[in-house]
């Protein structure tokens, strides 16, 4: 029934031979934006990615695990990973979920700034959120997923993964885009996640220590379902620190690197360190623990260095749909969540020149303080993370700032 309704909606704006049809279309286009991006398309897309996420392991993760099997010397650990390859194949062949703990299904929605008119005409964010909740309930029943979501105290289960605050929907926005990206992530959540408030004096060593602590705590017996995509959030406030790490684990493909070279090199370093713990799959002797390490950062309190860590498991389930302005839907496994816009660092503002001058003074006095946002003479702001004019000169002072943090001098 839903499909026939959908067909009617989609058929509506097609060219019609009659003059009356032409006038109708013209009026429709004038009164409402070119709203072919309808709510049924959004619900169809959300329903489909629930299936894809639950059933088909993303290629980037599978290839990462295949590379680990080739290197793995622990026989039991290698046996486990070979069984996982068979499992993913069985899941895709049978169209059944790869894992019965189908996690806590949730959504990440990126709305193009130029899609707002079309979305508003289709019912806006309220209609979108209802569509995502309907898709969750239908897909839970039809795939089927395990209805994991329960009331935290009464343990009431609606048997559809929908409830208070469930599924979560996170938003981000993209300039100059007329599409809506919907990503679903199905991640378990009982083990492998932790948070710690570190301080600048703890330095990079403190981050490594925390990283090893969490890997050993949850890697034994394979509670973290490793080898995992380890996501680490550094900075922000406590809540955003958790969100950054979670999104790093769930929304970046294996092999991607943060554009900030200092962050990227720490990603490499932690991945190598994590694979030297002696733990393999299921906590058996071996080396397969970290398929890849993803770090996201946010500016934080001058006195603190909060860190969070998250392990996305042997069933790293994510899938993305792009609903285009014309209603077309395309699918992929890379959410493309962390865009230069999302990682933006500066802002053009009236006092930029004053700010820049103050920075120069600080640098002259201290030799170590760094502000990554640089005002230019015409008031534009150069954002290093976008690479617009990021020079090698910027890396050097940052390295000094890092060694300063590591040596424990306070701020």
């Amino acid at each position: 029934m839903r499909e026939s309704q959908t067909a009617a909606v989609v058929a509506h704006p097609l060219p019609r031979p009659s003059t009356l049809g032409f006038v109708t279309r013209l009026v429709t286009q004038l009164v409402t934006p070119k709203a072919m991006l309808d709510i049924d398309a959004i619900e169809r897309a959300a329903y489909e990615i629930m299936f894809r996420a639950a059933i088909d392991i993303p290629d980037d993760y599978r290839k990462g695990v295949e590379a680990m099997i080739a290197r793995e010397e622990g026989m039991l650990s290698a046996f486990v990973l070979e069984a996982m390859l068979e499992n993913w194949q069985a899941a895709s062949e049978d169209r059944r979920p790869m894992c019965a703990d189908s996690g806590l299904p949730r959504f990440f929605v990126k709305v193009g700034n130029d899609a707002l008119g079309a979305l508003a005409a289709a019912g806006g964010f309220i209609a979108l959120e209802e569509a995502l909740r309907r898709a969750t309930a239908r897909a839970t029943h039809d795939i089927p997923l395990r209805p994991n979501r329960v009331h935290p105290l009464s343990r009431k289960d609606n048997n559809n993964n929908v409830g208070v605050g469930a599924p979560e929907i996170d938003y981000s926005f993209e300039p100059g885009a007329d599409w809506i990206d919907i990503t679903t992530v199905h991640k378990g959540g009982l083990f492998g996640t932790d948070y710690r408030m570190l301080f600048p004096g703890d330095g990079i060593d403190g981050i490594k220590r925390f990283f090893l602590d969490v890997l050993l705590a949850f890697g034994k017996r394979g509670l973290a379902c490793q080898p995992a995509i380890v996501g680490i959030g550094i900075g922000g406030s406590k809540d955003t620190c958790m969100v950054l790490g979670k999104q790093a684990a769930c929304l970046r493909p294996v092999g991607s690197r943060h554009p900030d070279p200092e962050v990227a090199s720490l990603e490499d370093e932690l991945r190598e360190l994590g694979n030297r713990t002696g733990l393999g799959a299921m906590g058996f002797e071996g080396s397969a623990t970290v398929v890849d390490c993803m770090i996201e950062i946010g500016y934080t309190h001058t006195g603190g260095m909060p860190v969070s860590m998250h392990c996305f498991c042997l069933s790293s389930r994510r899938a993305t749909a792009r609903v285009a302005a014309d209603g077309g839907i395309s699918y992929r496994t890379d959410p493309q969540w962390f865009t230069p816009y999302l990682r933006r660092e500066g802002i053009a503002w009236a006092g930029a020149e004053v700010g820049a001058a103050a920075n120069e003074m600080t640098i002259a006095n201290d030799g170590a303080a760094v502000d990554r946002t640089t005002g230019t003479a015409d008031g534009r702001v150069v954002d290093e993370t976008t690479g617009a004019t990021a020079g090698e000169s910027a890396t050097e002072p940052r390295a000094r700032a890092r060694s300063r943090a590591a040596s424990g001098s306070g701020r």
Binding site: L76, F79, V80, E82, A83, M84, E86, N87, W88, A90, A91, D94, R96, P97, M98, C99, A100, D101, S102, H141, I143, P144, R146, P147, V150, R155, D157, N159, L190, F191, R196, M197, L198, F199, G201, D202, G203, D205, G206, R209, F210, L212, D213, L216, A217, F218, K220, R221, G222, L223, C225, T277, G278, A281, M282, G283, F284, E285, L314, S315
Partner: protein, 227 residues
């Protein structure tokens, strides 16, 4: 089957698993099961042991294999069960129920994720002649789901919901599973942890001794476990 699996000893067991078959199991062997198994997690234990309820089907006559699991399943309008994938959940949380559970149900095989603390094998499993099989991965939900031939019954579905109800499943070639603990209470995970513990000190060499701000209850001994 991957090439490394060929080097491990493989065993086929039929449920209810008899004494001779249990006695022949050694840690690290690969096991496949045929017959009936039942699922039980928090909801089942509390309802049975604490609320004193008895399920409508006497599962203790059918099988002695307890699977710590909640399936990814749904029930159609016609009442048919659709079981897609099954994987185990972490078992250590259920230790407090297992002493009485073994005594009242005659369960001899526990299938789960991650095993139990070593002392629980010695105090709960060995006296009752029970072994622990761990699922692989985790988790091989699609492979285990494929091995389900039918749903014999679902106990307490209304009371506990799909995820917590007791599912009685008929399986064929259900695996791979690994023998984590045998009748003597030896533990594969314990042996692995002991080997890995030798490397832990070196792993932390050169790093700061402890963070600026400590936490209550924190252990500095990384050879310890958190379960």
């Amino acid at each position: 089957m991957g090439e490394r699996a060929q080097k491990l000893k493989q065993v086929r067991l039929t449920t209810p698993v008899d004494e001779a078959a249990l006695g022949a199991l050694e840690i690290g062997q690969v096991v496949y099961l045929d017959g009936l198994i039942y699922t039980a997690r928090e909801g089942v234990y509390t309802r049975y042991l604490e609320a004193g309820a008895r399920p409508p089907i006497d599962f203790t006559r059918l099988t002695n294999v307890n699977f710590h699991c909640a399936p990814a399943a749904s029930i159609g309008a016609d009442g048919r069960y659709n079981v897609g994938a099954v994987t185990a959940t972490a078992s250590f949380r259920f230790a407090k129920y297992l002493g009485r559970w073994f005594a009242e149900t005659g369960t001899r095989v526990v299938i789960g994720k991650g095993g139990m603390a070593a002392e629980h094998y010695r105090t709960l499993f060995v006296p009752r002649g029970a072994v622990y099989l761990t699922t692989v991965g985790y988790g091989t939900g699609a492979l285990l789901g494929r091995a389900i031939r039918g749903v014999e019954a679902v106990n307490w579905l209304d009371e506990l919901g799909i995820a917590q109800a007791m599912w009685i499943l008929r399986v064929e070639g259900f695996g791979p599973l690994l023998v984590e603990s045998d009748l003597e209470g030896r533990s594969l995970f314990e042996e692995m942890n002991a080997r890995i513990a030798k490397r832990v000190e070196g792993l932390y060499a050169g790093l700061i001794k402890e963070p600026a701000l400590r936490r209550y209850g924190e252990s500095g001994d990384k050879t310890e476990e958190v379960i």
